[in-house]
């Protein structure tokens, strides 16, 4: 049969259907490489997300104002407070979704250009990179628009396509989770682009107004409003020499000297901020930089006029806080986790026949910027039957202990945030059906997502005592008798309570 315009049909029929060949990939080698990648990025994860540091307040024996005036190219610059807000920006935040830039972003250009001027020589003098690393021009709007037109993607994808992501001081916008993902802070972050280096040398972040306080304190999604710089120990076991100075022009400069690393923050009168960290010698890199020079560079940066149109006061749902990351918890909870998962698998076996249980145990799932985590017990099981494509069916079972999540489905139009089941946003054109029901006294939230004959189910059952269990599974090629939404919902509602000490998880 021939159609007048059968391009879609040709595409669908032209999809390769050759079987997936055996893979010789060594997952252990992949993980070893992953550790090396992570090691290079460790500084970024800790620093870029929130730019944190450490404790005691000391007095910086420098005239920081003088340094700034001396080195600022335009000493006549002013830092207007702007129109301000009708609300307290510290307790306001942005929607959780990430902004998309469908046109050139002047803020990104201004930050990139200013940072190259302010920090370029500082980094070269510190030995972080050679001067020729600064021999680049920021891509023109015309070039970016041409790429966007030709290849699609947003402005920052176009900058990446043009290779700008390989240059130093390439800022990109980021949404930073607040209150477990119920809202976000917004920042532009630039990280050392030298991926060959064992450790990233620096991170610079321009924070938009909203969701943070100028007070130093534990960084990341630990508190709201969030702190951008802390005076507690972080880079080393010792608290840094920490100093704060309010300048005549209204800016506030904070610095933290950790010995092997430096950090600084500038809060501007318009409610925005700039933070940076520099890992100079914590891993024996041998870079050198003075606190005075860093302070001068920070003060040479302009105040940025960010788009705050989406900043609004937020009313957060009452949620038991997530747990501070505790590396010792998984081992301490392992016996409880194994007992819980064994009991769950026994129920699954009773429902579907004897499954194959894979590894698993207690796992802390970091949320937000990684300072807090949800406590979970998780494992995978393989069903004793295959789907209609004769592919094995796997199920992930994950218990969530109290803290760091909310029961039920997210509000329409919201992202997943702290909810356990993601039901997509309005306008989704996929066959994505979500429902919330009561089964045997437990609330059960379900998401069914089918594309053609392939279906996935995400089913969370919430117990009134405060724990939840989430099962996730999928089948391809059509329904499998006795293994569908109804049966899986019943299973989730019937899974036994996990083993844990409720008293430990009680909150006021």
């Amino acid at each position: 049969m021939e159609h007048h315009d059968h391009t879609e049909q040709l595409l669908l029929q032209g999809r390769p259907d050759d079987p997936v060949p055996p893979s010789g990939m060594d997952i252990k080698q992949v993980m070893r490489r992953g550790y090396r990648v992570q090691a290079r990025r460790n500084a970024a994860i800790g620093g870029a997300a929130a730019t944190g540091i450490a404790a005691i307040a000391a007095v910086l024996a420098l005239s920081l104002t003088g340094i700034g005036d001396e080195q600022t190219p335009d000493a006549a610059r002013t830092f207007p407070a702007g129109e301000g807000f009708d609300f307290n920006p510290a307790t306001a935040a942005y929607p959780p979704d990430h902004p998309v830039y469908d046109s050139p972003d002047p803020v990104g250009r201004e930050l990139n250009t200013a940072a190259k001027d302010a920090f370029g020589d500082l980094a070269v003098d510190a030995g972080i990179f050679d001067a020729d690393a600064l021999d680049y021009e920021f891509p023109s709007d015309e070039a970016a628009l041409e790429v966007m037109e030709e290849q699609g993607g947003d402005y920052y994808a176009a900058l990446s396509e043009l290779g700008f992501n390989l240059e130093q001081f390439n800022f990109a916008p980021r949404a930073i989770d607040a209150k477990g993902g119920q809202a976000s802070l917004r920042a532009y972050v630039a990280l050392d682009s030298n991926e060959e280096a064992e450790n990233l040398a620096y991170g610079i972040a321009g924070f938009q107004p909203g969701g943070w306080t100028a007070e130093p304190g534990p960084t990341g999604d630990v508190a709201f409003p969030q702190h951008l710089i802390t005076d507690e120990a972080s880079w080393t076991d010792e608290a840094p020499e920490f100093a704060t100075e309010t300048l005549d022009d209204g800016r506030i400069l904070m610095t933290a000297d950790h010995g092997c690393a430096l950090e600084a923050a500038v809060m501007y009168p318009n409610g925005s901020a700039l933070t940076s960290w520099w890992d100079l010698d914590c891993e024996g890199q041998g870079h050198q930089m003075s606190l005075q020079d860093l302070a001068a560079a920070m003060l040479a940066m302009p105040q940025i006029d960010y788009d705050t149109s989406e900043l609004a006061p937020v009313e957060f749902l009452d949620m038991q806080p997530a747990w501070p990351v505790d590396e010792s918890w998984p081992a301490a909870a392992d016996a409880d986790a194994q007992a819980s998962l064994d009991a769950a698998v026994a129920v699954i076996d009773g429902a579907f026949g004897e499954t194959e249980r894979h590894d698993g145990g207690a796992v802390g799932l970091p949320t937000g910027t990684g300072e807090v985590e949800q406590r979970t017990y998780t494992t995978d099981v393989t069903m004793p039957f295959n789907d209609r494509l004769d592919v094995s069916i796997n199920m992930n079972v994950r218990y969530f202990l109290p803290g760091g999540w909310l029961p039920g489905l997210p509000p329409e139009g919201a992202g997943t945030g702290p909810y356990l089941v993601d039901c997509g946003a309005p306008g989704d054109d996929k066959d994505d059906v979500c429902a919330e029901t009561e089964v045997d006294g437990r609330t059960v939230a379900t998401r069914t997502w089918c594309v053609a004959d392939d279906c996935s189910w995400f089913i969370a059952a919430y117990d009134e005592s405060g724990w939840a269990v989430l099962i996730e599974t999928s089948v391809n090629g059509g329904q499998v008798d006795g293994y569908g939404l109804e049966e899986l919902t019943a299973l989730a509602a019937a899974l036994p309570a996990p083993t844990y000490d409720p008293a430990e998880y009680e909150t006021d």
Binding site: L11, M31, Q38, G152, A331, H358, D359, N396
Partner: protein, 170 residues
Amino acid sequence: MQSKEQREDEFKSFDLAHRDRLRRYAYYLSGDWHQADDIVQKALTKLFAAWHRVEPGGAPAYARRIVTNVYLSHRRLAWVRRERATDDMPVQRIEAPQAEVELRLTVAGALDKLAARERVTIVLRYWEELSVDETAAAMGCSAGTVKSQTSRAMGKLRRLLAGTRVPAGA
């Protein structure tokens, strides 16, 4: 943060459940199993490095996004571009019983003529059967961009595949 052992166990479970699907996606993009394996190996490495930050249930989508990015990075490499530089696709007539195989070759050739992001868009929408929003999430762009890119790519494919017949029995 979970222990090293538990983190590795969790990642191995993910790999067990999802590797082949990612390899097939990478194959759809690259048209070559060796390249696909290279892409997936790099993507899994990046995924493992970020494993502690991956939200529950979000790992498959996150992995697909990384595979997309790695593929796009590969396409920026000159040797890949050279390898893929060919003349315009000839119009083909498809006849059974080799029709299906030849159609796949024809479609693969036409996809090779698209810009990298156009190809990703088409593969995600038509072969991975993702929604507009999911495609946007996998590509890090807006839903509007996906729609416009799909429209543009389909226009090119319409020209490239003009004269190609749907095999009998379709």
